[in-house]
Symmetry: C2
Subunit: 331 residues, 2 copies
Amino acid sequence: MSELRQDATTYDWIIIAKERAKRPDDFKRKTAQVKVPAHDPKCPFCIGNESLTPETTAVFSEDGAWKIRAVPNKFPALTPEGDMVRTEWKFFRKTHGYGRHEIIVETPLHNEIIPFMADGHVENLIKMYRDRYAAFRKDPKVKVIIIFKNYGSEAGTSLEHPHTQIVASPIVPPYIRRKYEVATQYYDNTGRSLHFDIQQAELEDGKRIVASTKHFTVIHPFASHYPFETWIMPKEHKPSFGHITEAEITDLARVLKEVLMKMYLSLDNPDYNVVVNTAPVDDEHKSYYLWHLQIIPRLTQVAGFELGSGMFINVTIPEETAAFMKDFRIV
Amino acid sequence: MSELRQDATTYDWIIIAKERAKRPDDFKRKTAQVKVPAHDPKCPFCIGNESLTPETTAVFSEDGAWKIRAVPNKFPALTPEGDMVRTEWKFFRKTHGYGRHEIIVETPLHNEIIPFMADGHVENLIKMYRDRYAAFRKDPKVKVIIIFKNYGSEAGTSLEHPHTQIVASPIVPPYIRRKYEVATQYYDNTGRSLHFDIQQAELEDGKRIVASTKHFTVIHPFASHYPFETWIMPKEHKPSFGHITEAEITDLARVLKEVLMKMYLSLDNPDYNVVVNTAPVDDEHKSYYLWHLQIIPRLTQVAGFELGSGMFINVTIPEETAAFMKDFRIV
């Protein structure tokens, strides 16, 4: 018999399909991996091809050469033009696609992915996330900032060169507003942070903990929507990623590298998304929310049932996948 | 500049990314299609292999041979076992995966897809949907019935043989509840049905109409989440698919065949999902909702931005795709 589990942060119900359950090992890629070169002369993010992208907005350099750089997206989803006035006719409400959309090129090398970067380089990358967040934050029209990464074609990217994206939206979308409302209601009832308390309960329960460091807890959540869905939650209570500290960055770089390396080795380099979940900018100083990183390997397809119901079928058991990842040894 | 459009049924915002916009023709498949045989000796849904599936629960036969049959899913997401009592410890609420999950095998032939079926066969298929809906409806623990179809691997199926699925859930998930709440609020304010009025507004505006028949309107909605997302909406106001009439079934069979044939020809046999959106069973007789079919071709990947924000980026303009499909000629 399968199990229905409720996500306490959204009230979504997840079907943990034990009848269909797959072993963690079943998700290894069936196809051989193509070897990726260190340099691709046609890649707009490779060193030497800087003229193929819009002008750099921020850069981290060493010995006179860039190591990480931020550039406006050449095909932006949102641009800093137009106002936010809504126009409508009957049910058709619209406004300008105001906002910002940048690419953070993570490395000059075409094939240097996060698990193989030096610790210090990943630290600088997270600092770049924080700095671009702070830059976008200054625009008073910006209401939410989404930092995310698409790795591999199943995760929605056609660009091989390691990169992260940052989008500033002028609207708080209902999906984010709702998570925030659930957390606010919990706060109003208890005077505490929902996500923070969930982290404590996960630590106490212990069955879905992948790692626990000085500053972070890594879990496969109780009601994981996806196989091997991973949350990296800070132990210090802050609603916004924008307020991450230097000490946290140092720790997060190691934790993120380790999580991605274990995924790379144990699941044969799966495609995945990373999302930085953070409070809307106007709510950054309210203590209802807890920012956290979410990693979603793209191992299964969302199908008609999920599209029609919003209920997800997870063919793995979070306790099993968490134990598998916890015990996996990087040699 | 891109455009932000609001979906009036969910309040979701969609980015219509004109800078990235693709022409309808850009979505043609790049890979050659594999020829599918009429019979696959290993396929559990092929004629002669009936012993490979659980026992048939409903059948439509002609001349002593089955033409359409319903069988319990061998690997069900939900099963009619256990109660619906919730148990919880701190934030971890769960219950039994009670429910029902059947497969409707659409045809004895391994390669007979809907656009190439006889009109009468598609009518019988829709009658089978209606009949299995009615059968599941009798279980008082069932709260929502989702009929859906996954066509092709991008749409989440590994089974090639044409089939539809029907799942009965004992819980109304928040995603469906929310759509229903938006519609209820509109009804309370106006005394009218939101989806019905949207259909009228689409007909009046005319720019996103693909087809209009006696009983149905086919649109690419104003705030389409996906390229070529298609809604087939009944002109007679009924909240539940369970109450579809014979005359509507006859018309719907033709409309569905035509929509899928145009997709098949113009987009080179894309993978897609079909979802029957219908009111929760306890709300079947309230007039707030309007059942409708939703067809989602799986032409682009949902990526980190969508997963993190719930905002969708649509790289096509619904007015353009609707005009393209409206004008496309089946020869």
